[in-house]
């Protein structure tokens, strides 16, 4: 089978089981595609030997009739996941040389299901960023290009994952989403990205950014693939006390294609100033597609939406400043070379100044400030109270009978690398305007490619679901995906 790397997970699973394809062949096709795609800078640590060993084991398992849905499927892993014996540095110089002695629960679940590890994927440093430009490896590049041939950002922080899935380097990839880091890059690359409900997927072994917001999820080419991959990633976990003790349902079985009678909300507060016409039109078309499929479209209000971004940029840096305190040059990663007479404080300060990039330093310092004596109540506690109100907005909408919420995924299509950071961090934070609200509320959300802008760049819409009802959300997303019929692929230039 030629170009097996272009198959969806569902197609590959069926071909593997039918004996039309082996995992070794499929894995070699992906490894070849990765080798030819250095210009995308998506894979930053390559594990071809591990991949071939795992593929051979998967083929044996399939032959023995013991195949799980992900058995033999080659995937890429965002650098933020600890994989035993493989460099795992969350895109940061401060974790240079760190090779974990243990395995994250998500990757362990994938390997137990028989998935094949292709390597580690590029990301913004510690998942802080919306363009992949804060990575210590340099940015991943979007396989889509602008009309003028400019190199575009794949989004962030899971930009390497999105680029790899869009360019057919792997069949699926893991991502993490703290404020939109799965959904925004998915929208920028014409792929599907699912942020599950907080607690659906274990955070054990996922290098922490903001613990009350971080959630891992699948990035795939189709909604069905997201359902399959989420099923393999999710589990309860005694190692993560915030991971829910709930059974993992068969998400793929929820894809019935029937959404008749579903009430889908359109939040009026998401109609922000300066939203491009193409995004506004896409949103209206998406609502019409769902209406045509039998859903009822309802105008709703989420009155505290406007305050989600400032609340997020208090809470996330506060948690980050605590989580990143562990990078002190003592236990792992980089340690600064010390001058004669330098004490331990100089060691900490120099190590962190050298190891953290500018955006991470900024967020650690903001977090330190809002948690410091005298400001804790004014900033941190106030932000947490606003967060409670944002969650209450959603609770009230769901209590009024809304099944899900349709919104844009991003305020624009992908933009050129280097254009985002004009020295104003706040401008960059506005990228997250449609995505952060549901991290604050802990809700599941999925970005689905629905259309293209005038330049031919992909545009995505986002569906937001009820807590722990990812199956229902995926079903609605698949109806939207089918109605939109997005089949465009980037022209291969790399």
């Amino acid at each position: 089978m030629t170009n097996a790397n272009r198959l969806t997970i569902a197609e590959a699973r069926d071909a593997l089981r039918a004996g039309d394809l082996t995992s070794v062949e499929l894995t070699d096709a992906c490894l070849g595609a990765i080798d030819a795609a250095g210009a995308l800078n998506a894979f930053v640590h390559h594990t071809p030997d591990m991949a071939r060993d795992m593929a051979r084991a998967a083929d044996a398992r399939i032959k023995a009739g013991d195949a799980a849905p992900m058995t033999g499927i080659p995937v890429g892993i965002k650098d933020v996941f600890c994989v035993r014996g493989v460099p795992s540095q969350a895109g940061s110089r401060i974790l240079q040389g760190f090779t974990p002695e243990y395995e994250s629960t998500v990757t362990q679940n994938l390997w137990s299901a028989g998935a094949v590890m292709l390597g580690k994927l590029n990301q913004d440093e510690f998942a802080m960023g919306s363009t992949n430009e804060s990575s210590c490896y340099g940015p991943a590049v979007n396989p889509w290009r602008g009309a003028d041939g400019a190199q575009l950002t794949p989004g962030g922080s899971s930009g390497g994952s999105a680029a790899a899935v869009a360019a057919d380097l792997c069949l699926g990839a893991t991502g993490t989403d703290t404020g939109g880091s799965i959904r925004q890059p998915a929208a920028f690359t014409g792929t599907v990205g699912l942020k599950p409900t907080y607690g659906r997927v274990s955070r054990w072994g996922v290098i922490a950014y903001a613990s009350s917001l971080d959630q891992a999820g699948p990035m795939t080419r189709t909604v069905r693939d997201a359902a399959i991959m989420l099923g393999a990633m999710a589990s309860s976990d005694p190692m993560d006390s915030t991971c829910a003790d709930l059974p993992v349902p068969d998400f793929e079985a929820a894809l019935t294609g029937d959404i008749r009678g579903k009430r889908i909300g359109i939040p009026r507060e998401y109609r922000v100033d300066g939203m491009p016409d193409a995004i506004d039109a896409l949103w209206r078309e998406g609502a019409q597609m769902l209406r045509d499929a039998g859903a009822e479209i309802v105008d709703i209000s989420l009155p505290h939406t406007k305050y989600a971004l400032p609340a997020y940029y208090v809470i996330a840096p506060a948690e980050a400043s605590s989580n990143l305190a562990r990078y002190d040059g003592v236990r792992y990663g980089h340690r600064a070379t010390l001058g004669a007479g330098d004490g331990i404080t100089q060691m900490y300060e120099s190590t962190r100044a050298q190891g953290f990039g500018p955006e991470v330093q900024r967020r650690v310092m903001i977090g330190t400030y809002v948690l410091s004596a005298g400001f804790y109540d004014a900033y941190y506690n106030r932000a947490r109270r606003v967060r409670a109100l944002i969650k209450r907005d959603f609770d009230q909408a769901f209590a009024a009978g809304i099944d899900s919420i349709l919104a844009p995924a991003t305020p624009s299509a992908a933009f050129p690398l280097g254009s985002g950071d004009k020295g104003d961090p706040v401008q960059m934070y506005l990228n997250d305007v449609f995505t952060v609200t549901l991290n604050l509320a802990g809700l599941p959300g999925i970005a689905v490619p629905v259309g293209q802008d005038a330049q031919g760049l992909p545009l995505g819409l986002q569906l937001i679901g009820r807590p722990f009802e990812e199956g229902d959300l995926l079903n609605q997303a698949q109806v939207l995906e089918a109605a939109a019929g997005f089949v465009a692929k980037p022209d291969r230039w790399w």
């Binding site: 002695e101 400032p310 002190d328 947490r384 606003v386």
Partner: protein
């Protein structure tokens, strides 16, 4: 809320990040811009609203208070920049 250079120096030290004096004005400007953006939160009436601690209404899991893991000092030290005789090594802390 604006941040002075002195406050920027103090917050950098609290965060244990070395910042050159020459970089302090730009840092103070950046931090002030971000804090100004956060000041929008003052528009919200939060009277009677409890600060949110978790998104799912669940009781934190409990388990027996017993040793479940250990005896792996070599693994724990394997990534240390400097480890000696089974310990992490750091510059002298106490004179």
């Amino acid at each position: 809320m604006s941040i002075t250079e002195d406050q920027a120096r103090k917050v950098a030290h609290l965060a244990r990040i070395a910042v050159d004096d020459a970089a302090l004005p730009a840092l103070a400007r950046d931090l002030s811009g971000i804090l100004h953006f956060m000041d929008q939160l003052n528009e919200v009436d939060v009277e009677g609203i409890e600060p949110m601690t978790g998104v799912t209404p669940m009781r934190l899991k409990r388990r027996e208070d017993v040793v479940t893991s250990g005896g792996m000092a070599d693994k724990i030290l394997s990534n240390a920049p400097d480890a000696r005789e089974g310990f992490f090594a750091v510059p002298k802390v106490v004179e």
